[in-house]
Assembly symmetry: C2
Homo-oligomer: 308 residues x 2
């Protein structure tokens, strides 16, 4: 196998009550990436279509992730990476993670899978470190493993894959304002009350329980974020109205996707997810902020090999 | 049915990573309680064997819980309660909760079960409020529902029952020093770092995931408490040594039971739990603090009716 073409899925990190530890993988939103083995060693980004991103390997998230992987594996060859970006940079649905995770997944495949997808999370995180200043795993883990993922611990890294209930759908609306992950992190408070932490623990535990028992109502009741949403939502136009409209339209609940500005909702069944999309659109249309809306199932497998 | 005799189980609250929201129910440690219907309305505590506790209804946790229940149900009769305490007060394994939960469970049974066990949690919490100044549910919920329980939310009250893996056993060592729940709460810091809250969220989510998937190793890896154990453990003699000895002896992990001073460990299989008990004893024996040790399975049903 000398060449592999991938679908690199978008992801929703945090999932409301799971700040920095939870993420989920989307089915129908993602980039494409082609990776080709070369005799010359090293990593070269040959082409990026659909976004203005640096081609220099050391400045590109896919490049940096790939470099960290080949440093570990020391293959006797190099790789060329061509990326067609469909996930908008800065949208909050894991654009950088899709590239970082895609690069390490594809290279690992071309080398005959010396590492498991769970082991690849660490290398993909190095790309995230370049993108946001923090080597977080809550987008790259679901992009690599599919479904929901829990980063139980960062030190040591311990990632748990959790299957999503079959009828769970996501709606994502992306108000196209610029909101850098670095800025969204800078508004966070360093300290929080023990009381709020306890509420957050109850909700994340409730969400995990709901995922294992297919209890959609419990999933909905657990989608509250005490820690981050209260401060970050100020940066997102019409956040409260979007969330309220989603629930009114039948969504189970929702919140900020990753560090925003995208807002997500989860619904039982595609019909509710579509109704939620319509209701969210109706909130943003009058204010003139351009936006994109996605309705997607939860992607159970993560990265998809389109052809080899 | 005019009289009921109950086994009122001891419980482990917090379970390390689940401060104020998680609890589990013990199989072989508990009080006995007899409740008798009377023509005279109201609640009377007729006898308490094995502990010096107030007989005045309004000063007794079972009495206060029972009063809150009959205020809601307005039955055309009253109840006499006789309690044989086997769980030591102030031990940290839910002594007050066993009494509060037993009283409401028994009265509800004698009235033909107008409420579900989940609905009874609220009334049992009123007894806890008397005991510790805080109407917490993390002992009364597992005492009423068995297995593990999650208090997803206090407002509104939302309690989720989670089945424990079959081979999970608890070891509890109770160093017999006095440590009031009120005092153990007063050492807590009001504010914590967002980073610690995030670590706690990862661990409680990991524990819940481990319970649903019978992943004993994951349960063990998740038994870390970032929020409370670092400050509370100072009040418990040889805490670090007890925890280390338990892990050395084969336990999955452990921590402070409730607000202490009891220390618990969870193990896979009774044999490991017994070895853990032996190792924990060996830590306390040389220092001359009297102690009690319990090894118990997880009680899947909660309150047990001994006879009616």
């Amino acid at each position: 196998m000398n060449e592999i073409k991938l679908f690199c899925p978008a992801t929703i990190a945090n999932v409301s009550c799971g700040f920095d530890v939870l993420g989920l993988c989307l089915e129908s939103v993602g980039d494409e990436m082609t990776i080709t083995k070369t005799a010359e060693k090293g990593i070269r980004i040959t082409e990026i279509i659909g976004a203005e991103l640096p081609l220099e390997t050391e400045k590109n998230v896919a490049g940096v992730a790939a470099l960290s992987l080949i440093e570990a594996l020391q293959p006797d060859c190099g790789f060329e990476i061509s990326i067609t970006k469909k996930i908008k940079a800065g949208s909050g649905i894991g654009s950088s993670a899709a590239s970082a995770a895609g690069a390490v997944f594809g290279i690992n495949q071309l080398l005959g899978n010396p590492l498991t997808n769970t082991e690849l999370v660490y290398y993909a995180m190095q790309g995230e470190k370049l993108a946001s200043g923090s080597a977080h795993a809550d987008n790259v883990a679901p992009a690599l493993l599919g479904g929901f993922t829990l980063v139980r611990s960062y030190d040591p890294l311990d990632v748990i894959a959790i299957k999503a209930p079959n009828e769970l759908y996501a709606t994502v609306i992306h108000p196209q304002i610029e909101l850098k992950t670095k800025d969204a992190r800078s508004v966070l408070r360093e300290n929080i009350s023990l009381k709020k932490a306890t509420i957050q623990c109850g909700n994340i535990a409730g969400l995990i329980s709901g995922l294992y028992t297919n209890d959609y109502d419990l999933i909905g009741r657990s989608l509250h974020d005490e820690l981050v949403e209260p401060v970050r939502s100020i940066l997102i136009p019409k956040f409260a109205e979007l969330k309220a409209a989603a629930k009114e339209a039948g969504a189970l609940g929702g919140g900020i996707s990753g560090s925003g500005p995208s807002v997500f909702a989860l619904s039982k069944g595609r019909e509710n997810a579509e109704a939620t999309a319509k209701a969210m659109k109706a909130v943003l249309e009058p204010i003139g902020v351009p936006f994109e809306v996605h309705v997607s199932g939860i992607n159970a497998e993560g990265m998809k090999i389109l052809h080899v």
